[in-house]
């Protein structure tokens, strides 16, 4: 019995040492793995960064060459672009101006009605009234509202509708306009030409 009791502390110590040996072995294993992973990651980072730094000059040189090519291309395009845009800008001053330019619009309308007005087929504008321009909601353009009163035959009115629909033409430089509504009064019953008396509400557009 004396022998057994004296062995117990030895066994406990042995157990303690064995357990700690195991714990430390596992910890060392984990530490080695972690360190290996850390070193691998850091090495990759190091390799990537040093390679990038080493090759930066080549990359910058390639970029400079591309920049030079693009600039040449842009200069080449600019030749056509400038001449075309000059033509477009000139046209837009007439068809889609940045200002009201209503006097020019009046002149153009007069010219149109002068062309279609005939003795047996009249087209006469009796009044034009321009309102102030308003900014169109959620749009980058403005509207110049105006009302036109006219005595016109149906065939000429059809011509007028066509003129309005084809307005904004770069070729004949007609200003972009549209009709919002029209109302008519009784035609002159005595007239053989069946002239319509119209009030046309219209809009001209501006940038």
């Amino acid at each position: 019995m004396q022998q057994n009791t004296s062995l117990t502390p030895a066994l406990i110590r042995q157990h303690y040492y064995s357990r700690n040996v195991m714990i430390y072995t596992v910890l060392i294993g984990l530490a080695v793995l972690l360190m290996g992973f850390f070193i691998a990651v850091q090495y990759q980072d190091y390799d990537y960064k040093t390679t990038f730094i080493a090759t930066i000059e080549d990359r910058m040189n390639t970029a400079r060459t591309t920049e030079s090519d693009l600039t040449s291309k842009k200069i080449e395009i600019d030749k056509e672009y400038e001449s075309t845009m000059q033509e477009a800008t000139k046209a837009f001053v007439e068809i889609f101006p940045a200002s009201e330019n209503y006097t020019e619009l009046v002149r153009k309308l007069d010219l149109f009605f002068k062309d279609i007005n005939k003795l047996n087929n009249p087209a006469v504008v009796t009044s034009i009234k321009f309102d102030k321009p308003v900014q169109e909601k959620n749009s980058p353009y403005k509207i110049l509202p105006f009302t036109v009163n006219m005595n016109i035959t149906k065939p000429n009115f059809d011509e007028f509708l066509k003129h309005v629909y084809t307005s904004g033409n770069v070729k004949d430089l007609t200003r972009l306009i549209d009709i919002k509504s029209f109302s008519l009064t009784m035609p002159d019953e005595k007239s053989q030409t069946k002239t319509l008396v119209l009030t046309v509400k219209m809009e001209a557009y501006m940038q």
């Binding site: 980058p140 149906k154 557009y205």
Partner: protein, 453 residues
């Protein structure tokens, strides 16, 4: 004395085994002889003990054997189930413990060393690679890398700026040529002649060339460098990243936009924005003008591009596209009215009222939501004025064919009103008995085309 007696008593049982040996005579205590007798007794005892030891060694071993056997028998009797207790060599314990202790010490040392090594490696690594720990020999690799990367990103942004300046010019040219093409297209569409067809083809070839230039630009150019990407980035993500980087530069770096027209900056921002850019890429990348088959396809393509880009050209195009073809719809109203009222004349927007029945229009209005409102007067000699108006509403709602809606949809007039009229201003109204002022609303179908075309 008591001890000695105990000692004596202790060995007495041994003596008792030797029964032949006479017991020593009890010491007699005499005055003056007390010390001597004590010494004698002690010596006697020792001698007796010595002699006992010598003589009894054999007997002792026998005795011990006997005792052990008895003990074993007793133990055997008590432990009827368990085996004999194993004998343990304690020296082995000492060896194992020593080795374990040594091993543990080595492992602890190794672990500590590893931690220290780890800290050193980590420290060196961060001091070398991290721009945040650039204290020892600035600039370290991390800082240097960041600076170089920044330089290359700046250069890439510069390249992208020039690229999008080119794209903007190409788009403007495409849209302007598209505008001319659409004019020719409308002219040809309204009155198709050979001359107009030739003009249209000429305009189309110019648009096709402009389309191919844009397609090449979108297909060939890459707006990023692989070296500037994270490893898991897709092509699309990378492009977006650099487009966003360009947007940031265009909006927040005045130096970057030096020499650029603010309008140009605004227009480039539109085409670089991720959503618009994705759509434009879809239209132009890896495409050819030869994929666009008809005039209508070109027309549709120009409209599509125009909707994605914002400048005066596209605004102009969108206004033109949103306008109503009044002549077309008025013609259709006249046609339908003629079916309801045989004496209706399109030239006056009115009936001749020869039969005393007829419709006369007073106003036409189309609002921004493409809602048509037509007002007029219906006249009948009998009380069936509403029947005529009902036919007119049905005529406006009639489908072009079972699957295609006509020029108007949802035509309606919910309130019908009439009065008898004997004091009308005109002769036809005076002759008539009933008149009805009406207002019909209807939705325009902008895609409608007259069937006789």
């Amino acid at each position: 004395m008591a001890d000695e007696k105990q000692f004596d008593l202790k060995i007495e049982p041994v003596k008792t085994t030797d029964s032949a040996k006479p017991a020593p005579a009890a010491p007699v205590s005499l005055p003056g002889q007390a010390q001597t007798s004590q010494e004698d007794t002690f010596l006697t005892n020792i001698f007796e003990k010595k002699s006992d030891e010598k003589s009894g060694q054999a007997n002792d071993s026998k005795l011990m054997e006997g005792l052990i056997k008895m003990e074993e028998k007793n133990v055997a009797k008590q432990k009827s189930i368990l085996d004999k207790t194993p004998e343990i060599n304690t020296s082995l314990f000492i060896d194992i413990e020593y080795h374990l202790k040594r091993k543990l010490t080595i492992l602890k040392g190794a672990f500590g060393s590893l931690i220290v090594l780890f800290l050193i490696v980590g420290g060196v690594s961060y001091a070398t690679l991290s721009p945040d720990y650039d204290y020892f020999s600035p600039p370290n690799i991390g800082t240097n890398f960041n600076l170089k990367r920044e330089d290359l990103t700046k250069k890439q942004n510069e390249l992208n700026k020039i690229h999008y300046q080119i794209v903007k010019r190409d788009l403007d040219l495409f849209l302007y040529k598209g505008l001319l093409f659409r004019q020719k297209y409308n002219e040809y569409d309204s009155n198709p002649t050979q001359e107009r067809e030739a003009d249209l083809k000429d305009a189309e070839s110019k648009v096709a060339a402009a389309f191919d230039v844009l397609a090449k630009e979108y297909t060939d150019y890459k707006n990023y460098q692989d070296a500037l990407l994270e490893s898991d980035m897709t092509d699309e993500v990378a492009k977006n990243k650099f487009n966003l980087s360009l947007i940031e530069q265009l909006t927040s770096n005045p130096e970057f936009i030096t020499g650029m027209d603010p309008k140009e900056v605004k227009e480039i921002l539109t085409i670089v924005s991720p959503s618009k850019n994705a759509e434009l890429v879809k239209i132009f990348k890896d495409k050819k003008s030869s994929d666009i088959a008809t005039h209508e396809d070109y027309n549709a393509k120009i409209k599509e591009v125009s909707a994605l880009y914002s400048n005066p050209l596209t605004t102009f195009n969108s206004i033109k596209d949103s306008r109503i073809h009044w002549a077309k719809f008025i013609g259709e109203i006249n046609r339908i009215t003629k079916l309801v009222d045989a004496s209706y004349e399109a030239t006056t927007f009115s009936s001749t009222f020869v039969t005393g029945t007829g419709i006369k229009y007073v106003s036409f209005n189309i609002d921004n939501e493409n809602t048509l409102k037509i007002s007029g007067i219906a006249v009948t000699p009998g009380v069936d004025t509403f029947t005529m108006l009902a036919y007119l509403i049905d005529g406006l709602n009639k489908m072009q064919d079972p699957k295609t809606p006509g020029a108007f949809t949802d035509a309606e007039m919910r309130t019908f009103y009439k009065n008898s009229n004997t004091t009308g201003a005109s002769s036809e109204q005076q002759d008539s008995k009933y008149t009805s002022n009406f207002t019909i609303t209807a939705k325009l179908n902008p895609k409608w085309k007259p069937t006789n075309k």
